[in-house]
């Protein structure tokens, strides 16, 4: 007669020698592979990188004679730092000692809220960043020379803010393109890295919700 799985489990583990704990190497300094911890680390690094990057940008832009662009970028990056800090604080409440369903649900909610918050801001950040760079390019000496050459090749009588209309139209169109696709680009990038994890989470939630019905 075939043994039941309960008997297999019980008798199989009676003399099991392979239940000895594996060697633990430098556990105290181990880098966690848990997705929550990894995202927390990412937020913490973001805060430092944005702060450092903003200051470097400000100095560099000042050195090349564009301090206002440096300040402008700094102003664009500050909200990103605030978002990263807030998301980091929220994630601290994700206790791994909850029931699996509660843990998965709170993690999923935090993840989705966080992605939505970032995506909303990137929708503003990318087009504004492009616009700032474009305006700086237009008003700079090098930019002025390039635009003069452009007008010689493509002459026009229509000028807006002292610039040929097609240049302004191109900047406006590209800004709108950035605004339109910023969120999609952000999601695409996230999906490349965490797509399978997101899919796995959705499957887990569906399965666990079925158990709760």
């Amino acid at each position: 007669m075939t043994k039941s799985i309960e008997t297999m489990w019980k008798t199989g583990f009676v003399n099991e020698t392979n239940l000895t704990a594996p060697k633990v190497n430098d556990l105290y300094n181990r880098k966690s592979q848990n997705i929550v911890d990894k995202l927390q680390n990412m937020f913490a690094i973001n805060i430092k990188a944005i702060l450092g990057g903003s200051v470097i940008m400000l100095i560099m832009m000042s050195l090349i004679g564009a301090p206002f662009l440096g300040l402008y970028i700094l102003c664009l990056l500050i909200p990103l730092m605030v978002i990263a800090k807030k998301e980091l604080e929220k994630s601290v409440n994700l206790s791994k000692g909850q029931s699996s369903y509660d843990y998965i649900m709170s993690f999923d909610k935090w993840l989705k809220d966080s992605i939505e918050t970032y995506a909303r801001y990137y929708k503003i950040f990318y087009p504004m960043f492009f616009l700032g760079m474009a305006i700086q390019g237009v008003v700079s000496n090098a930019g002025g020379k390039l635009i003069a050459l452009l007008v010689e090749v493509l002459p026009t009588d229509i000028f807006i803010f002292g610039q040929p209309y097609y240049l302004i139209a191109a900047i406006v169109i590209l800004t709108l393109v950035f605004a339109r696709y910023a969120e999609a680009l952000y999601h695409l990038d996230l999906n490349i890295v965490y797509g399978r994890q997101f899919k796995k989470l959705d499957e887990l939630i569906t399965d666990m919700e079925e158990l709760r019905k």
Partner: protein, 162 residues
């Protein structure tokens, strides 16, 4: 981590962690990574333990939650991506335990969904339906039905191999 904590609060429960981690991994390397991650998270979460449940239940919860959200390292260029599937050849991990029966049972368990693996492991560890529902966060009325379905599936998988 204070080694006292590991020796006194984790090591006596290593069997639980090993049994759970084995069900979610398909190589010795992955298994050791998961084991260490669970230990790390138990230590990090120790201050949240409110003593409403037993310490062993806490260990079951953390072990399962860690296994369910662990990032399996699959390198693609410099990016780390996660894999939610077991390679076919890894399902036949037949030397993890000394007992052939246990290895056979684990091979079958690895064919189940992640939630079903958690349910059956807790059942085999003689947890009551209420305890299983509490750890998983489900309805205890459904646990019995689900266990019946899982056992049928496991028996079918084991018989197919014989």
């Amino acid at each position: 981590m204070g080694s006292d904590f590991y020796q006194l609060s984790i090591l006596p429960f290593a069997g639980i962690i090993i049994k759970i981690c084995r069900a979610y991994t398909n190589s010795q390397e992955d298994f050791e990574d998961y084991y260490q991650e669970v230990c790390l998270q138990i230590w990090r979460s120790k201050d949240n333990f409110n003593q409403e449940s037993e310490w062993s239940t806490w260990i079951y919860r953390i072990s399962l939650n860690v296994c369910l959200t662990y990032l399996k390292r699959r390198k693609t260029g410099d990016k780390e991506i996660v894999s939610d599937t077991l390679p076919e050849e890894a399902v036949d991990d037949s030397k993890a335990f000394a007992s052939d029966e246990i290895n056979e049972l684990y091979s079958a368990i690895k064919h189940l969904s992640e939630t079903d693996r958690a349910v059956i492991l807790l059942y085999l560890e003689e947890k009551t339906y209420e305890e299983i529902a509490d750890i998983i966060g489900s309805n205890s009325n459904n646990i019995g039905v689900r266990i019946k379905r899982i056992k049928d599936r496991l028996n079918k998988l084991i018989n197919q191999r014989d």
